[in-house]
């Protein structure tokens, strides 16, 4: 251990103090919205407490009961499950081919799947016109299929396959197994750690699907949860159209718009917490795989 001078001791205290303030700043927005989500009808008053003045689960009941809110939630659950599992399968199988260094054309695949698409692209409008020509506008498939294959994820999985000793596959080949069987019986079960990591990061991506849904999805019953959430957050009582929409929603839920203390802010607060919840639940597992995630993030830019 190095001996610490007085200056260092002072620095350490100041440093810890800084991080306490920093952590409070990180937590404040989340704690405040959490409070809002459990409190009905106190908004605007000078209440500086971060605990709800009167605890109420009403907004969460609304999330569960109101179809225009829970429907987008279920849509997001659906595309997350279908998208993550299909994406994982496609990339895991493709990565096996990429792991064969001596296979003719394996270098070309990397150029085709990773390098070239990074340099050139059609951009928003040509892609939109393609989706329209394929009849994918306003269909769940448009949120899943184009995002399914990922060259970067395939490279990460491939790198893991490389670390699996070849002797295991060899012995199966001697027993007469085809490559397909070798992959499903031997490689795939051994690759669970990398597949878990990729599944988590892909899952977070599908759960957060927003931009694609904004561009391609039209009907409100097919909205993803973030799209519905944005609509709720941006409801402003100052806009006639928004106010009417919110009133219609309130009446549909059995409230009298003139009487109730229920606010759009309260409902969006509850929705924000609901949207964060799955991330918080898988967070301990995500943390274990940060290294893999950073590789995905850094290559994707």
């Amino acid at each position: 251990m190095l001996k610490r001078s007085t200056g260092e001791k002072v620095f350490n205290v100041v440093n810890i103090f800084f991080f306490i303030i920093f952590t409070c700043m990180m937590l404040l927005p989340i704690v405040y919205v959490l409070k809002q989500s459990f409190e009905v009808g106190i908004g605007g008053s000078l209440n500086l407490s971060l605990l709800p003045a009167k605890f109420s689960g009403l907004y969460y009941q609304m999330v569960v009961k109101e179809e225009s809110v829970y429907r987008p939630f279920l849509n997001s659950v659906y595309i997350t499950i279908v998208g993550t599992s299909s994406s994982l399968l496609v990339n895991a199988i493709g990565a096996y081919t990429l792991s064969k260094r001596e296979l003719p054309g394996s270098k070309a695949f990397i150029y085709f799947l990773v390098i070239f698409p990074m340099l050139f692209g059609g951009g928003l409008i040509p892609t939109y016109l393609l989706m329209r020509a394929l009849g994918l506008i306003d269909r769940y498939a448009v949120l899943i299929i184009p995002a399914m294959a990922s060259g970067w994820n395939m490279i990460l999985i491939r790198n893991y396959y490389w670390s699996i000793p070849d002797s295991l596959a060899e012995s199966a080949r001697i027993d007469g197994a085809e490559e397909f069987t070798v992959f499903f019986r031997i490689i795939l079960p051994l690759a669970k750690p990398v597949l878990a990591a990729i599944a988590l990061f892909t899952g977070v991506g599908f759960w957060n699907t927003f931009m694609a849904a904004i561009i391609y999805i039209r009907s409100p019953q097919k909205y993803t949860f973030p799209v519905k959430l944005r609509e709720m957050i941006l409801i402003q009582a100052t806009s006639m159209k928004d106010a009417q929409m919110w009133e219609a929603m309130l009446m549909a839920m059995g409230f009298d718009p003139a009487q109730t203390a229920v606010t759009a802010d309260g409902l969006s607060s509850a929705m924000m917490i609901v949207s964060m919840l799955p991330i918080i639940l898988i967070y301990p597992y995500l943390q274990k795989h940060f290294a893999a995630g950073i590789m995905v993030g850094s290559i994707k830019g």
């Binding site: 200056g7 260092e8 620095f11 350490n12 440093n15 991080f19 920093f22 990180m26 404040l28 927005p29 809002q36 000078l46 209440n47 500086l48 990339n91 493709g94 081919t97 064969k100 001596e102 695949f109 799947l113 698409p117 990074m118 340099l119 059609g122 951009g123 928003l124 409008i125 040509p126 892609t127 939109y128 016109l129 393609l130 299929i145 184009p146 294959a149 060259g151 080949r173 001697i174 007469g176 490559e179 397909f180 759960w207 957060n208 927003f210 931009m211 561009i215 944005r230 957050i233 941006l234 802010d265 969006s268 607060s269 924000m272 991330i279 918080i280 943390q287 940060f290 850094s298 830019g301």
Partner: protein
Amino acid sequence: MDTAIKAKGYQKNQKKILTKTNVMLYLMIATPLILYYIFHYIPMPGIIIGFQQYGLSGFKYWVGFNNFKTAFATFFFWEAFRNSWVFVAFGYIFVTPTPIIFALLMNEVRIKWFKKGVQTISTLPHFVTWVVIGGLFIQLLSPSTGYINLLIKFFGGQPIFFMSNAALFPWMFTFIRIWKNVGYSAIIYLAALSGIDPQLYEAAVIDGANKLRQVWHITLPGIRTTILVLVVLSFSSVLSGMFEPIFILKNSMNRSTAEVLDTYIYSVGIIQGKFNIATAVGLFKAVISMFLLFTANFLSKRVTEDGRSIL
């Protein structure tokens, strides 16, 4: 045994390409190849729409560079163009250095559980969608019900319209960007810091170097390569990734300093249906991005230790 491997397994220096094994392997990668062909390659030639008069029924006639001229003559295009670069500049001045400072300070914290706790909390927002992050701050900063303005009113001040003040917006956006990503971006620097040989510090102490000199002469040179590589890598994507945050944070009051090229292309193309103008602007943006990517690739050879480029 040798022949058995050769008969069934994958062989080196194979002459024949279409063996049964190879065909099987090609079939295994067929799905990603087809998906990439459809969703990444088919739209590529679509950039020619930027040189066409294009209506709802499709191609009408060629117009050369007229779509570009129309866009360049539009006030709102230049506004979005300027804002994009303002955010890029603010990004490099404020967003890029913050995780480095965060990591340097975090590296000095000796209490393990405290360190882990701060990191856990500060990393979480990276995984949360921009819609929620934007929503959190819109509520926190709301002039009527937001907590910050409640505090300001409590101390007798006038509420500040944080999110609907155009002059304030670039600062608010930069702050929220830092808030969302500082913890996650710091991970890679913390990893680089833990790789520095502790003997270097011990030697420096014996030579009488104080903490600041140690940071200047050992710590910063130790993570120099990491910093340079990350900065150079980020060149290629400076103009992307702004759609989601701006789409949630933009409103009618702050539009003049919030609109970026990504959201501009969306509103001109998808909302107004001017496919040809939007494609031209998109192509213009893509050419700048590609130029930056090649610059980054060229520079990366100089900043990596082994002189490798990123492409």
